[in-house]
Symmetry: C2
Amino acid sequence: MRLDKLGEFGLIDRIRKMIKTDSSVIKGSGDDCAVLKFDKGRYLLATCDTIVEGVDFVRKDKPYLIGRKSLAVSLSDIAACAGIPRYALVSLGLPKRYTVEFVDSLYKGIRDLAKRYELNLIGGDLSRAERLFINTSVLGWVEKRYLVLRNGARVGDIIFVTGTLGDSHLGGHLRFQPRIKEARFLVRNFKINAMIDISDGLIQDLSHILEESRVGAVIYETLLPQARYIHNLKDILYRGEDFELLFSLSNKEAKRLLRKRLPIFSPIGEIVKKNYGLILIDKDNRKKQLAIRGLQHF
Amino acid sequence: MRLDKLGEFGLIDRIRKMIKTDSSVIKGSGDDCAVLKFDKGRYLLATCDTIVEGVDFVRKDKPYLIGRKSLAVSLSDIAACAGIPRYALVSLGLPKRYTVEFVDSLYKGIRDLAKRYELNLIGGDLSRAERLFINTSVLGWVEKRYLVLRNGARVGDIIFVTGTLGDSHLGGHLRFQPRIKEARFLVRNFKINAMIDISDGLIQDLSHILEESRVGAVIYETLLPQARYIHNLKDILYRGEDFELLFSLSNKEAKRLLRKRLPIFSPIGEIVKKNYGLILIDKDNRKKQLAIRGLQHF
């Protein structure tokens, strides 16, 4: 069977089922980061992501921004687990014909972002490749009491997103700020039940929370925070690479958060029982059952 | 300037010079693994490697062996630091036209090797790519007293290699056993001063030890352990991907090791002062100054 018939998530499920881990692994594959035993108060987080020319960026994108994105996508995974990023390994696959200046700019993009988060670049690997790719593996940690996974959403929770949605194709996917600070603010001040970053589209990533938490959700079109110039609902619901945080917390905690009047956090709906599935209330107040789909690599 | 003009090690040097790390990083890039503070008795080791279709393997190689190699190269880096591998993240870049059966075999190769070393596969990433690539990031640990780096070789040390050299192009590069057990045996029983794995060729990798330790070396052609069917000195000296260990220890420790009569460890020469450079004594007892070269990706 060809891979594109099984699909990305079919393949991931297939691989996950084959793998066993020992008791030092709190959470293996299937969340934004792997979560490992570390010390008395903290877990170690590990995540990796690859970006590939022609898929995640194009040849004419600025090398500075390509480098920056390669690290930012992994930092976004650390943010989704409410962690602090500490170390990164960077592997480059480079076509021979590329210039040293290109690689310099690419690394400057990586270095500047690393500096902002006091992240150590601890090594990596260089390979020759036909098309540029960059893999970053990031290690970080999170206090045990602050860890948030995808599986903790409860019926009655209010669902929030950070920032705005839908403009990744206008360059947002190269310039987004990983929501490390927002995630840390949230877990320090509120009890967050579930969190994920929106890499594959709002609906796809929300459905990961719903599946892992065995719940359903209702979201409201009028509440969705649209990026400037974006009026297409499909872009907001299904286009990937917003790299915003999607999270849920109890009604009581949500009220406390709303009282702070922080425009970066928008409530968009609520968690309901699993049998409701995923429902959108559109701007004319009509109920629509949503199919779960989004960005898939195959 | 094009990358192939600067060369792989030129580029690595250039990148290394740009990077600063904090005091939690015992050793950043420039050794087989990054070495990080961990707990009272141990360091955390982190390494990553990518293998690329058409460079590190070809399309007609068995997927099982391709998967196995992708993990084995990183395990070899952990071995070079005398560590115990614990966790691996696997990132795949996959062409759409590949089959599910291909990916199953590839993962079986990874899983079987992971099982042998009680390594946890904790996650990864899937991307679409024109050509297959696999990146593995491996975490492990090493007792502080057992850590071995490239920089500890001393004048008078005896240089050893494990196994035999030169047959990587006959399929050895797909079937080698990472020398985890041998490395652990060595550090548990001897004081090892410097160690590296032979990925870029004996001479290239020996020169990394010499540079980092600021010393020179004399090696003896007649002592080099040749793989079966290999009689070409160039294959033994310069061909990469043997993934054997190259290490040095004091004359006294070397005598203790030799007394054990373990055929897997072969003495091949000794460490001398830096100004001698790197000398080969050939089978006719002639001295030859060796140029430092080996496998470069650019």
